[in-house]
């Protein structure tokens, strides 16, 4: 064990702080360099436990490198390169800093060996990713960001409460390993709720389409990869074999499909398909066999790439035209044909077409379901994959690039192929999607149980024809029912209704019963309390005037001088102030851990 173990997240955190000092002409190179350094660091990490910090009575483990964390660390850092490349031309440093802090949080969670470290990085993720929504700068994104933050704070609190209850129980310590899933306690359920919220499992899912549809064009590319898949990692680590996850996963897989039918915004549609796809992974975790866990990891790996690619394609349309609604788009094949091809590759990958990445990963989970004798799991997941092709493979490309709808003239005039770096990111992601689908050992050797994965062969004639039949006949259904699928300019109510409209109930309660009670209590207080109080106040007033005022005035004068300087230092934008505060807090925590560790030695 070496003292000089460099935590991969540290590369991103230091890298983003230095970003401000990098001169403009070197910026693009620097922006690519840091994620590549991160990737290289993760590739060169040896297995084992590193970065142990003793603080108070706890042992924090910052670096647990094993099969499970390696595969997630690999794909997260790869996606960081792609996401940064995609947004390379964005001039606003703050956006890059937010996304790097976000990735740092995710990578930190993945290598965390104990609950405290996990929780710290978990919150770092939530508090940095919210800026990717706010930076879009619309009124809606401001509200969506606050909703996102509040929901994640609730999830974080559930996790924290569960952790504290679980780890303080006799016989437990703070290390984060497989929990006792067959005899779950309240604490274990609370931890699971925290994880499930981040994995967007219904009924804790409504934050996802709300936030991802409203983030910046490149912010969504980051967001679609990290939050939910970090949660899948945490579930794989702590909850493998938890039966209830099978049911939840299958419900998720179908729930996302149903809402995708109704959705008119292409990025919200993709967001609902994240819910659907994460459903496969959650079901895999619930099945808990070695093959199912392999499947969950493989699917997370493939999913990050093709979903990133899909968000890049739709993000390009949004970036170039300013529109993301199907009713405002159509016929773009003339203007953005290559973006169409890349998006189609993403669509074929997510639909698990043979030779594309989804085919070799999704089928592992489905097979594990059939092998476990849970036929309903297998059939319902296959049904969901028909729905996936229907929307992501057919509806998204058709209604953006073809369809009868004619966009407004200004949308049409603005449409063109995106800048080179966005194209480059899409090319690399497309190539990886096809490579994974064609050359299975690349992915299978990285999985937590490589020997089990080596025995799995997705390319049997039966499996290929089964998939082709499902998908092609789904395509037939799509074209026959095309008229029913023409998107309407509507939004679909989801469970976020309860906190977006539910406040009215709260306000009513506050205004009517609570206020009435308040008035009553106030009146009683005035009669019984105020009169004696006035008497004593007069006595206290004398003391106050003579003694205290002298002291307070001096103190107040110095505060006023300080705050006058502080007022000049801040620029009045709430988000920037928050960003600054979060960054300072993160640095303080890291510095504190560093120093306390140094003193402990």
């Amino acid at each position: 064990m070496t003292d000089l173990w460099l935590h991969p997240s540290l590369i991103l955190i230091l890298g983003s702080l230095l970003l401000l000092a990098v001169p403009a002409r070197l910026k693009r190179g620097y922006l690519l360099l840091i994620p590549i350094l991160l990737f290289a660091r993760i590739l060169t990490m040896h297995r084992g436990e590193f970065g142990q910090v003793h603080i108070l009575n706890w042992t924090l483990v910052f670096g647990r490198v094993d099969g499970l964390s390696s595969v997630f660390g690999y794909i997260m850092s790869l996606m960081c390169i792609l996401g940064t490349l995609y947004g390379l031309h964005v001039k606003d440093d703050a956006q890059h800093i937010a996304s790097w802090f976000y990735v740092a949080g995710s990578v930190g969670c993945i290598y965390a060996g104990d609950f405290i470290t996990l929780f710290l990085f978990w919150e770092l993720m939530a508090f940095s990713s919210v800026f990717l929504i706010w930076f879009r700068g619309r009124r809606e994104s401001l509200f969506a960001g606050y909703r996102y933050l509040l929901v994640h704070v609730v999830g974080g609190l559930a996790l924290l409460a569960g952790m504290v209850l679980h780890c303080n129980a006799p016989g437990h310590d703070w290390s984060f390993n497989l929990l006792d899933v067959h005899h779950p306690t309240t604490a274990i359920y609370l931890i699971m709720a925290g994880f499930l919220l981040n994995a967007a499992v219904p009924p804790l899912h409504a934050w996802l389409p709300d936030a991802y549809g409203e983030a910046t064009f490149n912010g969504s590319v980051f967001m679609c990869a990290f939050t939910t898949k970090t949660a899948v990692y945490a579930l794989c680590r702590g909850f493998a074999g938890m039966e209830i996850l099978i049911v939840l996963g299958v419900i998720m897989a179908l729930y996302g499909v149903v809402y995708a039918v109704l959705e008119n915004d292409c990025r919200r549609l993709l967001a609902y398909h994240i819910i659907s796809q994460v459903g496969y992974m959650v079901a895999g975790v619930g099945l808990g066999t070695q093959m199912a866990i392999n499947g969950a990891c493989a699917h997370a790996f493939a999913h990050i790439l093709y979903k990133g690619l899909l968000f890049m394609g739709c993000g390009s349309v949004l970036y170039m035209t300013g529109e993301s609604k199907f009713t405002e788009l159509g016929g773009l094949w003339k203007k953005m044909p290559w973006t169409f091809v890349f998006t189609l590759i993403g669509g074929l990958s997510i639909s698990a077409f043979p030779l594309f990445s989804g085919f070799v990963s999704k089928s592992m989970i489905v097979s594990a379901g059939f092998e476990e004798g849970k036929l309903w799991v297998g059939f319902l997941l296959l049904l969901a994959s028909a729905g996936t092709f229907l929307h992501t493979g057919l509806k998204v490309p058709y209604f953006i690039w073809f369809g009868k709808n004619q966009p407004r003239k200004e949308t049409w005039d603005r449409a063109a192929e995106p800048p080179w770096n966005m194209n480059a990111a899409m090319i690399v992601a497309s190539a990886l999607c096809i490579f994974i689908g064609c050359y299975t050992p690349y992915l299978y050797k990285m999985l937590p149980y490589p020997e089990v994965a080596a025995e799995y062969h997705p390319y049997t004639a039966y499996h290929v024809f089964e998939t082709l039949q499902i998908l092609l006949f789904t395509g037939l259904g799509f074209f026959l029912l095309l008229k029913k699928l023409v998107p309407d300019p509507t939004i679909s109510l989801d469970l976020d209704w309860f906190y977006r409209k539910g406040w009215r109930v709260f306000l009513w309660v506050a205004r009517k019963p609570v206020q009435a009670t308040d008035t009553l209590v106030g009146e009683l207080y005035r009669v019984a309390g105020l009169v004696p109080l006035m008497l004593s106040a007069r006595v206290a007033g004398l003391f106050d005037n003579e003694v205290i005022d002298g002291m307070v005035d001096g103190f107040a004068n110095s505060i006023r001088g300080f705050s006058r300087r502080l007022r000049l230092a801040q620029r009045g934008q709430m988000q920037q102030n928050l960003a600054f505060a979060f960054a300072v807090a993160a640095i303080l925590i890291i510095a504190f851990l560093w120093y306390s560790n140094a003193f402990a030695r």
Partner: protein, 136 residues
């Protein structure tokens, strides 16, 4: 723009493309029925002829019909459903009006929406094309 020409070429021959598509469907279903052995089948129902073709088609139709039915129960609603100006919210949030706030184009937005809006006018990389104005 060679790719666009290829797409145009195919669109010009839509009938032929459709025929090829249908041919492909028949071919896959027939090959799946005739040539591929059923020994890898997970369950007995899969021995029904053309099982997976039927599964795909019926599944697709079911998903569309049931989802649309569900959507028309009241789940699909007007786009400005959440936009009703919540007058109380502005005072609750303690927003301070910022000069030069970008106007929000959505219907029903009033004074408070300006106050809460980000005052940055068309930030670079906010998801809009450079030079383009804001329009919701």
């Amino acid at each position: 723009m060679k790719l666009a020409q290829l797409i145009e070429f195919l669109r010009g021959r839509l009938k032929a493309v459709k025929l090829v598509g249908i041919g492909l469907l028949v071919l896959v279903a027939a090959l799946g029925m005739l040539l591929v052995s059923n020994e890898h089948a997970h369950t007995a129902v899969e021995h029904i002829p053309f099982f997976w073709s039927i599964f795909g088609f019926v599944g697709c139709v079911l998903i569309i019909v049931l989802s649309k039915w569900y959507g028309h129960l009241g789940i699909m609603t007007r786009e400005d459903y959440y936009d009703d100006p919540p007058a109380q919210l502005a005072s609750a949030a303690g927003a301070r009006p910022s000069p030069g706030a970008a106007t929000s184009g959505s219907g029903g937005a009033s004074e408070h929406s300006k106050a809460l809006d980000n005052s940055k006018p068309a930030a670079p990389g906010d998801g809009r094309a450079p030079g383009g104005g804001k329009h919701d």
